[in-house]
Symmetry: C2
Subunit: 226 residues, 2 copies
């Protein structure tokens, strides 16, 4: 089985991504970050999901992005927006500066050590919050850079691939795909709100996109809402 590094947040998208990678025969090395996110309970969700899918190993890496600030997801002084129009233009305050670049850089390091040619990331550019580092042109540019960055890709013959199979799916299609692959979405956590005591808020961007996705898919969302 080919090895792959997979970025796993414990949310709906990355859990579906894991199901896709397993279906496609990859030996998955899952990677989760404790980056100072206020909704750190998602790390528990990532652990549940990794255990359920039989990954090869699961690393939770500590990197403190609160050093830089600048995001509602890491700063106690910026509120997570409620009931925002997620279709509106512009990057919202939940954007974390350069987060996917940092995550993919770590995944690249691990992939090189493992000799893995594939990195899976669950970005999505349709039903999403407008984060620039979720768009296909960004992913392609990262892949091009990565192939110039490492010993494995320059001295060896490794062609590194950043795989983003959910990129052009709607949230409803992602949920349908995962459901067809046996994903139990009760294991996942999407909510950004840090103060909901385990239940989802139903009002942040992530909850709104999730609820809309389940509604459009015609599938009941097993998450517990407050």
């Amino acid at each position: 089985m080919p090895k792959a590094v997979l970025l796993l947040s414990g949310g709906l998208d990355s859990t579906t991504l894991l199901a896709v990678a397993r279906r496609d025969g990859f030996d998955v090395h899952a990677m989760t970050f404790r980056y100072g996110q206020r909704h750190a309970t998602e790390i528990d969700a990532a652990r549940r999901v990794a255990a359920r899918f039989g990954v090869h190993d699961h690393v939770v890496a500590d990197i403190d992005l609160r050093t830089f600030g600048g995001s509602a997801l890491t700063s106690d002084s910026i509120d997570v927006p409620r009931d925002r129009d997620v279709g509106e233009r512009g990057v919202p305050v939940t954007y974390v500066p350069a987060r996917n670049t940092i995550f993919l850089a770590f995944a690249l390091a691990w992939a090189e050590v493992l000799g893995a040619a594939d990195i899976f990331i669950g970005v999505n550019a349709l039903d999403y919050s407008g984060y620039p580092d979720c768009r296909p042109e960004y992913i392609e540019a990262f892949e091009r850079m990565a192939n110039l960055a490492t010993r494995a890709t320059t001295e060896g013959s490794l062609l590194l691939r950043i795989r983003a199979p959910l990129s052009k799916l709607t949230k409803a299609q992602i949920i349908q795909l995962g459901t067809s692959l046996g994903v139990d979405y009760a294991l996942t956590q999407s909510c950004y709100d840090p103060d909901t005591g385990g239940a989802a808020c139903g009002h942040c961007d992530a909850c709104q996109l999730r609820l809309k996705g389940f509604a459009e898919a015609g599938i009941a969302d097993p998450a517990r809402y407050r």
Copy 2:
């Protein structure tokens, strides 16, 4: 003064880089990593250098690259090579997987929060150890990716520049440049060997390149060797 983020290791190259950035009128935000390097005394050198040059601020970020292993610089089980022919082809065991990609990703995050358009990195592709992530084509690919990665570069009008002004200089030229800008190289640390009690070993790649550079520049190296 325009703001810049500058990657500062405390070595000869990044110290010269800092002198260049200050000469060119940048308000410097210096960034150093405690990444699990065995030669962690270089962090003290970075602090000395930052204090001497009057940077705006200096962050030492903790990221543990020992999680992945794969390098003589982070693993106790791989020896730092002595008296290797630094001109030989191939990437040596001191290469740290994806290190510059990780460092630049963090610098990108900080630059975005600061509103800085410039990131300085002291890579050098002439008298160097053959690391793939020091080559101009890698730096250019990172810059292209970075300009697709952030809110500042996609929604705002920020054009992010990765500045590598030492890239095409020999080590001797770097030392001459720094000397002309008043750099005190006694503050810097180049040695990779973790067990030299403050003095440099004189035999690792970094020491060899440094000694050759000073000899070719016709300048005395103020470093203390064992």
